[in-house]
């Protein structure tokens, strides 16, 4: 960093631990975390879900929670020891000196209060505005946050704003009192790629004006853009910390390396297979198994930071480099490599920092996928209109045509509401198009009566974004999968078939007797895939199959899909709003906007040289890690502020 900033850190944290006593023992959510942040600097905290990022952030505001036990060797902000603050002193700090943008952006504004009131609250509480002047200030803040028509938004309720606008209003309320530090917890997770870029630009702008930024994300690509420093958290610990450029270009901790490897990049060299399940079947279950029963939060796998994790490196069960020492002894923080431009060290908690992982663990045999020339699914000019509440008809899908060839993977991308799911449902003959037809194997499909269609339904199957709700809540995995196996057979046979299918998707057959609700997100998605495979389909329609999953799990599922495509020769109609994902899985891609196809073509061609302006825009908005950039150089960011709300 340049010398404009005083070298005394704005925020200094050492040995921060947060524990929650619960009915099932003490959850040590954050353990011995050291952080420091100077004015105008951006520190990114990265880590998978449940790694303790949010708890760390909340602890900085004294909001760790009612039952939380917070301890720290140092907890200082602007030179004040935060550990000694009373309730009133905390309140004077919050909002005024430290702004906080909550993780759940869409629900962080009181839905029963007008947006203006919410933004004004920080000013009101800290007595920073006179009553008659309040509205003007709020409008100024909204404008600053890039909210168009602030005079209108000001009087609207949160639900009347799009997600991006809500996020911006929330940021406006967090910066209202001009805090020196802004803590932004996953500010872009819920957003569309284009909106995501805008919000990142907004944060960038704040930092440029001197506000220090603590940016929390599970997405390395997002932080790569902004961060000066990165701290990688795993299971409540900071496993690696250092200057962004250095850390991203040469990760020291295996977890960081895995995270980086799992990032699907739209400009990745080719449609290769990401590492799938480095430890044989069921790797995503490892964290669960270790944490004992019920370590589930928000349907995602969670690393339990309970007593069981006390011995050894928490990442050992998932680590390709783990040896006996890793499993028995917690690695202490050690400094690693050269310091950054400001002379600080990189820190890592690992016995094998920076060691190259054995290539064998990730190599999967690449067999060419045979794409035949005949179309299994032919979509011919389908159109579907819905009546909106105001009575007008809106076209969800308009005159869409494409072919899905046998064995092929066709990606369908487009922003939210562009009609991807509607297209999928028409292809699945769940809904009947208003115009156009869908042919399956060249025979009529969408026009049939359900009775005539039933016998052929086994040929085309669905894997949904939310697999859990597509399972009968009373059914065990055995029944869920077994039911999909066609034909009459004794229970035993059916169970065997189900077990075999689980094996095919890399799941332990022991899961047969579990209820889906008791599975991790990745496991559920695998069960859904197993069910889709059961009738031996020619086509599987995947509607956002990985968007609810963690990056690492996401990578495993994508690899699984690619493998199945090879092995079973099924064709995929792969729907996603994430271009990186599509790039990784598909041969061809079709881009949708407002219900229409704007571009279709081979993945490589479309990504390299998009023909439609919209595709280019989509591509430009994708955050990426520029691994080639040199240390100290800030990544360039393209910010598009107009366009998509």
């Amino acid at each position: 960093m340049s010398g404009d900033h005083p070298s005394a850190p704005l925020l200094e944290v050492a040995g921060l631990s947060v524990a929650f006593p619960t009915r099932h023992g003490v959850v040590r959510a954050v353990r011995d975390v050291d952080l420091s942040l100077r004015a105008g600097e951006c520190l990114a905290v990265v880590g998978e879900s449940g790694s303790g990022k949010s708890v760390t952030a909340r602890a900085l505001l004294g909001l760790a929670g009612a039952g939380a036990r917070v301890s720290a060797r140092t907890l200082a902000f602007e030179g004040r020891d935060l550990r000694t603050l009373g309730g009133g002193q905390w309140r004077r700090l919050r909002g005024r000196r430290i702004g906080y943008v909550l993780q759940d952006a869409l629900t962080s504004l009181d839905p029963l209060r007008r947006v203006g009131l919410e933004v004004a609250e920080a000013l009101e509480v800290h007595g920073l505005a006179r009553r008659d002047d309040l509205d003007d200030q709020v409008i100024r803040l909204l404008t600053e946050a890039g909210v168009p028509d602030p005079h209108v938004r000001f009087l609207q309720y949160p639900h009347e704003l799009s997600g991006g606008l809500r996020q911006r209003a929330l940021i406006a309320s967090a910066i209202a009192a001009g805090p020196a530090l802004l803590v932004a917890d996953e500010p872009t997770t819920a957003l569309d790629v284009t909106v995501q870029a805008q919000v990142l630009g907004l944060l960038e702008e704040r930092r440029r004006r001197g506000t220090a930024l603590l940016l929390i994300s599970h997405d390395l690509a997002v932080v790569a853009r902004l961060a000066d420093q990165v701290a990688v958290m795993f299971a409540g610990e900071v496993v690696e910390r250092g200057p962004a450029a250095a850390l991203l270009s040469s990760p020291a901790h295996p977890y960081t390396a895995d995270l980086l490897a799992a990032v699907p990049a739209p400009d990745a060299p080719d449609a290769t297979d990401a590492p799938e399940a480095p430890h044989g079947p069921d790797a995503s279950d490892a964290s669960d198994a270790r944490g004992g029963s019920g370590g589930m939060a928000r349907g995602l796998p969670v690393v339990r930071t309970g007593p069981a994790a006390a011995t050894g490196c928490p990442y050992a069960p998932r680590c390709a480099l783990a040896d006996d020492r890793c499993r028995s002894e917690p690695p202490p923080p050690v400094s690693y490599g050269e310091g950054g431009p400001d002379g600080e060290d990189r820190m890592v908690r690992c016995f094998h920092p920076g060691r190259e992982r054995s290539a064998a663990a990730f190599e999967t045999p690449v067999a060419p996928v045979r794409v035949k020339d005949h179309a299994v699914v032919s979509v011919r000019g389908i159109t579907k209109r819905y009546r909106s509440p105001d009575g007008s008809r809106r076209t969800a899908v308009g005159d869409v045509s494409f072919d899905l060839r046998a064995g092929e993977a066709l990606g369908l991308v487009g922003e939210s509401g562009s009609g991807k799911s509607t297209t999928a449902r028409i292809v699945l003959a769940e809904i009947v198009p208003d115009a156009g037809t869908v042919l399956l194997d060249g025979e009529p499909w969408s026009g049939l009566r359900e009775r005539d269609r039933r016998s052929r339904r086994s040929r085309i199957q669905l894997v949904d974004q939310d697999p859990l709700s597509s399972f009968d809540p009373r059914f065990t995995v055995e029944r869920v999968v077994g039911e999909a196996v066609p034909g009459r057979m004794p229970r035993r046979r059916r169970r065997e078939r189900a077990a075999a299918l689980l094996g095919q998707v890399g799941l332990d057959p022991a899961l047969l007797d579990r209820l889906p609700a008791r599975l991790s997100g990745g496991q559920r998605q695998r069960v859904a895939i197993a069910r889709a495979l059961a009738p031996g389909p020619e086509v599987i329609v995947c509607d956002e199959p990985v968007s609810a999953l963690d990056v690492t799990v996401q990578a495993q599922i994508l690899a699984l899909l690619a493998r199945l495509r090879r092995e079973a020769g099924v064709a995929l109609l792969f729907i996603s709003h994430d271009l990186g994902v599509v790039r990784q899985v598909c041969d061809r891609v079709a881009v949708m906007k407002d219900g229409r196809l704007v571009e279709t073509g081979a993945v490589a061609d479309v990504f390299r040289a998009p023909r439609a302006a919209y595709t280019a825009e989509l591509l430009a908005a994708v955050p990426r890690i520029d691994r080639g950039r040199t240390a100290g150089e800030r990544p360039s960011v393209t910010v598009t502020l107009e366009g998509h709300p």
Partner: protein, 282 residues
């Protein structure tokens, strides 16, 4: 309306002691149209209903509308008092105990007991304790405020128990929401968060309960008026059910269905006002 054994003409004529002569009974049947087929009677009843004419009571010898008019005041006073008491108690209890585990556990136990207790039993116990033994409240009264206290309490307690639980639930849920944390992160005081933010959220589920509350109140007045020997529609309707005085029973039932529907419509409207999301979702 003569669906059942029993002879309304007898009742109209004055019942057992009157022992009316057949001539008198015939005259009465003519007058009330009781001799006609049930279908005709029912049609007439509906016709009258459309004209807001509820007919005449068999037992009381007066038009049902007048009976209701005379009695509705007492019942309204009781129900309104109980509603105010119930909501008041519930909101106070909920705001005091929300998010405070020990107090909440205690309060929950008490609420659960009161929800599970029939209000006539509460009434009997209150009556025994506060009127008979302590003499704090009158046993009977001419609608003065003191005489309303115990009946209102008997009526309000089970309702308050339920409302308190729902209110607290709503409060705690609201306090748990990201927006509450956001408000805290802005430096807002706990009091401000509870009053400015959470209470409105808690009001929404409570509002949905108002239909239920009204039903409970109506049902409760029937019993409580009996326990406390109060005048009112509940009292009248019980006597009418016992005496199979259909015009009165149907009159009261139709009236309360009307009130019930009106209140539910009002609640729906209120809900839209209280929650800006409703209008948009529609």
């Amino acid at each position: 309306m003569r669906l059942v054994p029993g002879d309304p003409a007898r009742v109209i004529a004055g019942g057992v002691q009157a022992n009316a002569t057949p001539q008198v009974l015939d005259a009465i049947r003519d007058e009330y149209g009781l001799g006609e087929p049930i279908v005709v009677q029912y049609a007439r009843f509906l016709g009258r209903l459309l004209r807001a004419d509820l007919g005449g009571s068999y037992q009381l010898g007066r038009p049902v509308s007048r009976v209701i008019g005379e009695q509705i005041g007492a019942t309204l006073a009781l129900a309104a008092g109980a509603a105010v008491l119930g909501f008041g108690l519930a909101v106070t209890l909920a705001t005091l105990t929300a998010g405070r585990p020990r107090l909440r556990a205690l309060s929950r136990a008490v609420e659960f007991c009161s929800i599970s207790t029939p209000n006539f039993w509460i009434g009997i116990l209150l009556l025994a304790a506060f009127s008979f033994h302590l003499g704090w409240f009158p046993v009977i009264g001419d609608g003065g405020p003191a005489a309303l206290v115990l009946p209102c309490a008997a009526l309000a307690l089970p309702i308050a128990g339920m409302l308190a639980q729902v209110t607290r639930d709503g409060l705690e849920r609201a306090l748990d929401q990201p927006f509450a944390l956001t408000a805290r992160a802005r430096g807002a005081t706990e009091h401000r968060i509870r009053v400015r933010h959470a209470l409105r959220h808690a009001a929404l589920p409570v509002l949905t309960l108002s239909g239920w509350v009204l039903g409970e109140l109506l049902a409760g007045t029937v019993v409580v008026e009996t326990v406390f020997a109060r005048q009112g529609l509940g009292h009248v309707v019980v006597a009418a059910v016992r005496g199979r005085d259909f015009p009165v029973v149907t009159g009261v039932v139709v009236l309360s269905a009307l009130v019930f529907s009106l209140i539910n419509i009002a609640v729906d409207l209120l809900y839209g006002l209280a929650d800006p999301r409703i209008g948009a979702a529609a």
